[in-house]
Symmetry: C2
Subunit: 199 residues, 2 copies
């Protein structure tokens, strides 16, 4: 299941199969070729063989092509934390959420790589990405508190989880030959455990 499929089910009718996905692919290709700033919605729609009207049915603006999945990512993370069996330690609840999230991205290596390159080339998008991760951290801490994890343990475990997610994700993006994001997440979490244990 990919981000696109989910959005497809929720927002699209049968008369435009995969138009969200086509728009996303066209946008990512154009952002990569010309830069984010230089690309217009008109061009994205044209490249996708669709109308601007269709674009705006799926995305509020061209930035949302890059960040429209944030809410769902957050929901996946927090739902997975909430679903962990009673008695699961905070860090294991985070580990389970990382597994679930990794699975979501597995099928999207190429578009995730393209997206990351666009963001790396634009200071304003980098800031937006930081804000996304900070919100994700706050939502994770909240999910842990709802499991009766006290502060500051909830916030620390959440921030640790975001650090692992961010670093594993960057390693995955950097290496097109490495398809297993879940494995990188688990490695990075183990590495964090070793680092904080003073190894």
């Amino acid at each position: 299941m990919s981000v696109t499929d989910i959005n497809y089910d929720r927002t699209m009718g049968r008369w435009e199969p995969k138009s969200r996905e086509r728009l996303e692919q066209a946008a990512l290709a154009l952002y990569g070729e010309r830069g984010f700033e230089q690309t217009t919605v008109t061009e994205i729609a044209k490249r996708a063989g669709l109308t601007e009207r269709t674009f705006f049915r799926h995305f509020a603006d061209k930035r949302e092509v890059l960040f429209g999945g944030s809410g769902m990512l957050q929901e996946l993370f927090t739902t997975a934390v909430a679903a962990a069996p009673a008695g699961t330690t905070p860090i294991d609840a985070i580990g389970r959420a990382l597994d679930v999230v990794a699975e979501l991205f597995e099928q999207r290596h190429e578009s995730a790589r393209q997206r990351q390159a666009v963001i790396a080339a634009n200071a304003e998008l980098q800031e937006r990405e930081l804000i996304k991760l900070a919100r994700l951290g706050a939502a994770l801490a909240d999910a842990l508190r709802r499991r009766d994890v006290p502060e500051p343990a909830a916030s620390l475990a959440a921030e640790a989880g975001i650090a692992v997610f961010k670093i594993a994700f960057e390693r995955w993006i950097a290496d097109p030959g490495q398809p297993d994001l879940g494995q990188l997440m688990r490695q990075s979490l183990d590495e964090l455990k070793a680092v904080t244990a003073g190894e």
Copy 2:
């Protein structure tokens, strides 16, 4: 030693003793009373009993009153990591840096509290603060790599350090009766170790 003293030594002549500090205090008071957006440089200078010209000798704009110390904070962090004895583990090097940084802030509880309240009330300033912390994390990871800490351990230890800093700082700000930031930093670091160890 405070942020203000250091900036004073570097940028000011003897003819305006403490003018940077006076401008900072005036600005923080006004940002708190009227909001950051609604405060002008003219008002800050007037409140401090100084000229706008003097303001601009110390700060590029009114936002820099809040973020002008970021560079020095980063330098303190990275210098402390670099100065840790050979053989110090990455997490202990981070712990030393947190001690040094805590000392810097000890004398500035009230202005730190005021600053945080201003930032909490303004979305754009919150974003700026996130970017500051992200840069700090990248600089810390860089300082660890220069100690031959490999990746991803360097980035994970750095991100863990930033999480501890952020959370201890927030606890310190929230409790005016708690003057010992260093103690909160050490507690939070111990708590992170316990959390990642699965406690």
